[in-house]
C-alpha cells in the first residue's frame, strides 16, 4: 500500500505541469464547493446571531381585518390585566416624514409607539429619556431620535431639548438612542434616520395612519414561554374576530429564524450541487488524462506484467494514481479556499461578519473527491490491467 502510494506520487511528480493542469478541475470544483458553502453558512450565522440577539421572547401581531371591532389601547390593557402569560404589549405604527433641524433636513422613518416598546425591543438610550405614558395621553409633541438623525439634522448627538420639525410640526427631542447592532430594525435600516413618537402623536401627524391599532409587539410574562403567550394571543384574537384565523397574524422570532434557516439550507444545497457538478467535470478530466497515461505507459505495463505483476497489481497502481491526483487537487483546493476566505474576511472586516472553513463541507469535499478518483480512475486502470502482456510488451517497439 505505501509502496503503491510512493509509486503513484513518483509517477505524478515526473510530469508536474500535466498533473497540475489535470488537478485544476478538481481544485476549482473543491474551491467552488467549500468557498460558496462557507460564505453562505458564515452569512447565515451572522444574520441568525442578529435575530436571536433580539431576544426570542417577542411576538409580532398584525391585524389584517378588524371586523368592526378595532383594537385600541384600552383593549390591550384589559388583555394584559387578565392574562398572566402576557408580559408587555406595545402597539406600533410606522410612517415617513420630512424632518428638519438646525443643521439640515431629510427623510425620516417614524415609529409611533408607547413606553413599553423600549423594554420589549431592548433599546439603549445614549442620553435623555424614552417616551412615557403621559406623552401618549397628552399627544405630546416629543420624539426620541437615533444618533444618525441627531448628527444629520441637528449636528451633534447631545441634542436633548432641541427642536425638530416633522412635516412642519415642531417636536422636541427628549432622548437619543444609542446605535445598537443587536436591533433588527436598526440592522435593516442602518445608516438611516429614525424618530420614535408617542403613538397618539403620530396618528395626528400622519395623513395615512389609522387611529385603531393594527400591529403590536407582545412579550411573554414572567415565568411563561413565548409559546404560551402565542397560544393566549391566538385565543384572544380568535374570540374577538369570530374565530377567523385569517383576520390576524402572529409571528415570532423563532418563525423568522426557521424561515431563514430553510432558505439558507436550500441555498446551500443548490450551490453545493452546482459545485458538485464542476467536481464531476474535474473527474472527467482525471479520467481523460489517466487514459492518456495508460496508453503512454503501455510498454511499462508490459514489462511489469512480464516480470510477474498480476491484474490486481496493475489495477491498484493506476487507481492509486487517479485517487492521489484527486486527493492532491482536493487538498490544494481546500487550502486555496481557506486563503480566499481569509481575504474575504479582511475585506468585510468592517461588516462584523467572519467566514471560516465549514468543516462538514470540507469533509464532504474530501469524501467526494475520493469517490471521484475511484470512479473515474477505474475505467483507465481496468484498461491497463486487462492488457495482454505480449501485446503491451511489444507496443510501439
Amino acid at each position: 500500500m505505501t509502496l503503491s502510494l510512493k509509486m503513484a506520487l513518483r509517477s505524478i511528480g515526473s510530469n508536474k505541469l500535466r498533473a497540475i493542469l489535470t488537478m485544476l478541475g478538481i481544485i476549482i470544483g473543491v474551491m467552488a464547493l467549500v468557498v460558496l458553502v462557507s460564505l453562505v453558512s458564515g452569512a447565515t450565522s451572522s444574520v441568525t446571531d442578529t435575530i436571536s440577539g433580539l431576544g426570542s421572547n417577542l411576538l409580532t401581531v398584525t391585524i389584517e381585518e378588524d371586523k368592526g371591532k378595532p383594537v385600541d389601547t384600552e383593549t390591550l390593557e384589559t388583555w394584559l390585566d387578565e392574562e398572566e402569560t402576557l408580559g408587555l404589549i406595545a402597539p406600533y405604527i410606522s410612517d415617513t416624514a420630512q424632518g428638519s433641524g438646525s443643521e439640515g433636513s431629510g427623510s425620516l422613518t417614524l415609529y409611533g409607539t408607547t413606553a413599553e416598546y423600549y423594554d420589549i425591543q431592548g433599546l439603549q438610550l445614549s442620553m435623555g429619556r424614552w417616551l412615557k405614558d403621559a406623552d401618549q395621553e397628552n399627544h405630546s409633541y416629543v420624539c426620541v431620535i437615533n444618533e444618525t438623525a441627531a448628527e444629520e439634522l441637528i449636528g451633534y448627538t447631545d441634542c436633548v431639548g432641541q427642536a425638530l420639525n416633522l412635516n412642519g410640526t415642531k417636536y422636541t427631542v427628549i432622548g437619543v438612542l444609542a446605535d445598537d447592532d443587536n436591533n433588527l430594525t436598526r440592522v435593516f435600516s442602518s445608516g438611516s434616520m429614525v424618530a420614535y413618537l408617542p403613538y397618539s402623536s403620530l396618528v395626528r401627524l400622519s395623513t395615512t395612519a389609522p387611529a385603531e391599532i393594527e400591529s403590536f409587539y407582545v412579550s411573554a410574562g414572567e415565568g411563561h414561554t413565548v409559546e404560551e403567550a402565542e397560544q393566549t394571543m391566538t385565543r384572544l384574537l380568535m374570540e374577538r374576530f369570530d374565530e377567523d384565523d385569517e383576520a390576524f397574524e402572529i409571528s415570532s422570532q423563532d418563525a423568522l429564524e426557521e424561515t431563514m434557516s430553510s432558505v439558507t439550507s436550500m441555498l446551500t444545497v443548490m450551490l453545493g450541487g452546482i459545485a458538485g457538478i464542476s467536481l464531476v467535470v474535474g473527474g472527467i478530466g482525471i479520467m481523460n488524462i489517466m487514459l492518456v497515461t495508460v496508453t503512454e505507459r503501455t510498454r511499462e505495463i508490459g514489462i511489469r506484467k512480464a516480470i510477474g505483476a498480476n491484474r490486481r497489481a496493475i489495477l491498484t497502481q493506476f487507481l492509486m494514481e487517479a485517487v492521489v491526483l484527486c486527493m492532491m487537487g482536493c487538498c490544494l483546493g481546500i487550502f486555496l479556499s481557506w486563503a480566499i476566505l481569509q481575504i474575504v474576511n479582511t475585506v468585510v472586516a468592517s461588516l462584523d461578519m467572519s467566514f471560516s472553513l465549514n468543516l462538514p463541507v470540507v469533509l464532504i469535499a474530501v469524501v467526494f473527491c475520493f469517490i471521484i478518483g475511484l470512479v473515474f480512475g477505474l475505467y483507465p486502470a481496468n484498461k491497463a490491467a486487462r492488457m495482454k502482456p505480449i501485446d503491451a510488451l511489444h507496443y510501439g517497439g
Binding site: 509502496l3 513518483r10 509517477s11 515526473s14 510498454r299 511499462e300 508490459g302 514489462i303 511489469r304 506484467k305 512480464a306 516480470i307 510477474g308 505483476a309 498480476n310 491484474r311 490486481r312 497489481a313 502482456p389 505480449i390 510488451l393 517497439g397
Partner: protein, 223 residues
C-alpha cells in the same frame, strides 16, 4: 525442466495464415545452457513467448517444471512468470523512471517479500552482475551493457528456475556482448537453467547445446 510437445501457433496476417510454430517438440533439462537459433521470422520469438508464459499455444502441450501451463489463468501465469522465470530482453526493458536497484526490486515487490529481504536480494543480484556502485542510477544514466546487466540482475533476483534471454546481446557491441555472455556462463556454472534465443551463430555456439528453428519447426538438435 521444459517439456514441449507438438506445439502449434498460427497467426492470421491479413488473409494469410502464418504458422509460427508447427508441431514443435523439444526438451530442456534442468541446469542446461541451451541456445535456440533461427533467422528472423522463423518462429523463435513465438517460441520464446510461449516458453516465457507470455503467450499460449493453439495446440500441443507445454510443461514447465512439471506444471501444465496451458491450463492456467492469466493471473496464475503472472505468478509463474514471477517465480519461475527470469527474463532478459534485447531492448533491456527497464522502467525508465526507476533506478537500477528499484528495477531489480520490482519483481520482488510483486512476490510480496518483506522490505529487508528485498533489499538483501537486490544487493546480492547487483553484486553478481558487478553493478553495486551504479545502484542509484537511472537507466538513462547507464551504458547499454550496464543496462543489460541491471536486467540480468532483475532476472536473477527472484532466484528463478529458468533464465530466458531473448537476443540479450542484440543491442550491444561485440566486447560488451562477450561480457554479458560471460555473466550467463557464470550463472550457468552456479547451477541455473539458461535458454538463450538468438539469430547469431557465434552467440549460439557459446551454449552447450543449440536448437535450430526454421519455419516454425525444430529442424535440428545438435548436441
Amino acid at each position: 525442466m521444459i517439456d514441449i510437445k507438438d506445439l502449434c501457433k498460427v497467426y492470421i496476417v491479413g488473409d494469410e495464415k502464418v504458422r509460427a510454430l508447427d508441431h514443435a517438440t523439444l526438451h530442456i533439462y534442468p541446469k542446461e545452457f541451451v541456445s535456440i537459433i533461427g533467422p528472423s521470422g522463423s518462429g523463435k520469438s513465438t517460441l520464446m513467448n510461449i516458453i516465457g508464459c507470455l503467450d499460449v499455444a493453439d495446440a500441443g502441450s507445454y510443461h514447465l517444471d512439471g506444471l501444465p501451463i496451458e491450463s492456467y489463468s492469466e493471473n496464475q501465469l503472472a505468478k509463474i512468470r514471477n517465480e519461475k522465470i527470469g527474463f532478459v530482453f534485447q531492448s533491456f526493458n527497464l522502467i525508465p523512471k526507476l533506478t537500477a536497484e528499484e528495477n531489480v526490486e520490482l519483481p520482488l515487490i510483486y512476490q510480496g517479500l518483506p522490505r529487508q529481504e528485498r533489499a538483501q536480494r537486490v544487493q546480492e543480484a547487483l553484486e553478481r552482475v558487478g553493478l553495486t556502485k551504479r545502484a542509484k542510477h537511472l537507466p538513462t544514466e547507464l551504458s547499454g551493457g550496464q543496462q543489460q546487466r541491471v536486467a540480468i540482475a532483475r532476472a536473477i533476483a527472484t532466484r528463478p528456475k529458468l533464465i530466458l534471454a531473448d537476443e540479450p546481446t542484440g543491442a550491444l557491441d561485440s566486447k560488451t556482448s562477450q561480457e554479458i555472455i560471460d555473466i550467463f556462463h557464470e550463472l550457468h556454472d552456479q547451477g541455473n537453467t539458461i535458454v538463450l534465443i538468438t539469430h547469431d551463430p557465434n552467440v549460439a555456439k557459446q551454449a552447450a547445446r543449440s536448437i535450430h528453428i526454421l519455419d516454425g519447426r525444430i529442424s535440428e538438435v545438435k548436441l
